[in-house]
């Protein structure tokens, strides 16, 4: 398929479909993440990339047969590997006999929150989640290091009027978005703080929060959005999220327990677990939201720069043509 837009859309549809089958398999937390990350924000970021790279694929010079053969062989080996795995839903599979009974039976006494997925993610496996947050933070820093640039004052002034005139045609979209954005932000906060009781948590909430800001930036122009969202604050918040998570771990370390053992945070172990999970989910939310916004803003800034360069080149060419 040569049309990259269609490919991106198919990827988004695939994300939504996998979210649906996660729901049918009763993994609502995973489904929620897949719907917001896989179908939502990654599709959006890929679309932004397409606006920079162009919509259609260049004709390939190499033969795709070799790549197809590699893919088929690898896929065949992977499927062959799954043949040794226990059947789906098999009660005596190692995954069901090892730690799962412990989580299901004891998490209510030990952690005290109804959503076991959040208990596992934030407390029992807190170290893994810390790693994930650091990965997201690193991705954001990588984007900043590769694409970030200092914007000059006069650039923003000239693009301001351009943006305003360009976006006049989006009147309906702008009004509807204005109505919807507060609710999107509110929903993100609900997902953030309701993660202990239902599906949700820092990752999904951060992505939804970032989606609202990106929607605003897309419809009201980048210069307006830059005035609303201070770039240096966003970077600050990305770092604050990871630091908050790490600090919770260090505090429990200082109180004589293991790293990220939240029972040390309070006299009552269960209250300590609650506090710890709330804090680290907040850290995750901060980092995810800020990194998504950083990625989008830097992609868009890059595109604006490319466009202005193109315009300048065209002007120069025109001048050259006139002289000759």
């Amino acid at each position: 398929m040569k049309d990259l837009l269609a490919v991106v859309m198919l990827a988004g549809i695939y994300g939504l479909l996998s979210a649906s089958f996660f729901v049918t398999m009763d993994a609502v937390d995973v489904a929620f993440t897949e719907a917001s990350v896989g179908a939502g924000i990654s599709t959006l970021l890929m679309l932004v990339t397409i606006t920079m790279t162009g919509r259609s694929e260049h004709p390939t010079r190499h033969k795709p047969v070799l790549a197809l053969a590699v893919v088929v062989i690898t896929g065949g080996l992977l499927i062959y590997g799954t043949l040794d795995m226990p059947h789906f839903g098999y009660a005596e599979a190692p995954v069901h006999t090892h730690v799962a009974p412990h989580y299901i039976n004891d998490s209510m006494q030990e952690i005290g929150i109804p959503n076991i997925v959040t208990s596992v993610l934030a407390s029992y496996r807190g170290f893994d989640t810390f790693g994930e947050v650091v990965v997201i933070f690193t991705a954001g820093m990588g984007i900043l290091a590769l694409l970030s640039m200092v914007r000059r004052r006069e650039d923003s002034a000239s693009s301001d009027s351009l943006n305003d005139s360009m976006h006049e045609q989006y009147l309906v979209l702008r009004i509807v978005t204005k109505i919807l954005i507060p609710f999107i932000l509110l929903f993100a906060l609900y997902v953030q703080f309701h993660g202990d009781y239902g599906p949700g948590g820092g990752f999904q909430a951060g992505v939804i929060f970032a989606a609202a800001i990106i929607l605003y930036a897309m419809l009201f122009g980048m210069s307006t959005a830059r005035r609303v969202i201070n770039q240096s604050y966003i970077r600050f918040f990305a770092a604050i999220g990871v630091l908050l998570y790490g600090c919770v771990g260090v505090v429990s370390l200082l109180n004589g327990k293991n790293f990220l053992d939240y029972s040390a945070l309070s006299a009552d172990p269960v209250a300590g677990q609650h506090l710890g999970i709330l804090l680290i989910e907040l850290g995750v939310g901060f980092t995810v939201a800020s990194v998504m916004v950083i990625i989008f803003f830097n992609f868009e800034g890059r595109r604006e720069k490319l466009q202005s360069q193109e315009n300048k080149n065209n002007e120069n060419n025109n001048k050259g043509n006139k002289k000759t």
Binding site: V172, L173, I179
Partner: protein, 103 residues
């Protein structure tokens, strides 16, 4: 008596919604150009979602579910037409001409 009435009306709503979904699907395959196809999907999708959500509300008329479904319904009523509008604007912006009748 009340229960059967609720069930019947709920089923009617669900069936209407499903029918609208299918007719939208047929429309996207059968209509000649971009705008008519988009019209078929845009109109039926919004109303079909509304019908199905109302049908589901009637299935469980008391409780938090109804409020959640009403919120989803409001969201759909806002977002779906706006999405169709944005699609049509994008198509006009890219010089997609509608296919006109040749009479």
């Amino acid at each position: 008596m009340m229960d059967t009435l609720m069930n019947i009306s709920s089923t009617l709503f669900l069936l209407t919604g499903s029918f609208l979904c299918i007719s939208g699907g047929v429309g996207i395959l059968r209509f000649p150009d971009f705008y008519t196809r988009m019209h078929a999907v845009g109109v039926t999708d919004t109303s079909a979602t509304a019908m199905i959500l109302i049908g589901l509300m009637l299935q469980n008329p008391d409780g938090l579910v109804v409020i959640k479904l009403i919120i989803i319904l409001l969201m759909t009523l806002f977002i779906s037409p706006t999405a169709s509008h944005a699609l049509a604007r994008a198509a006009i912006h890219n010089n997609h001409k509608p296919v006109l009748d040749k009479t």
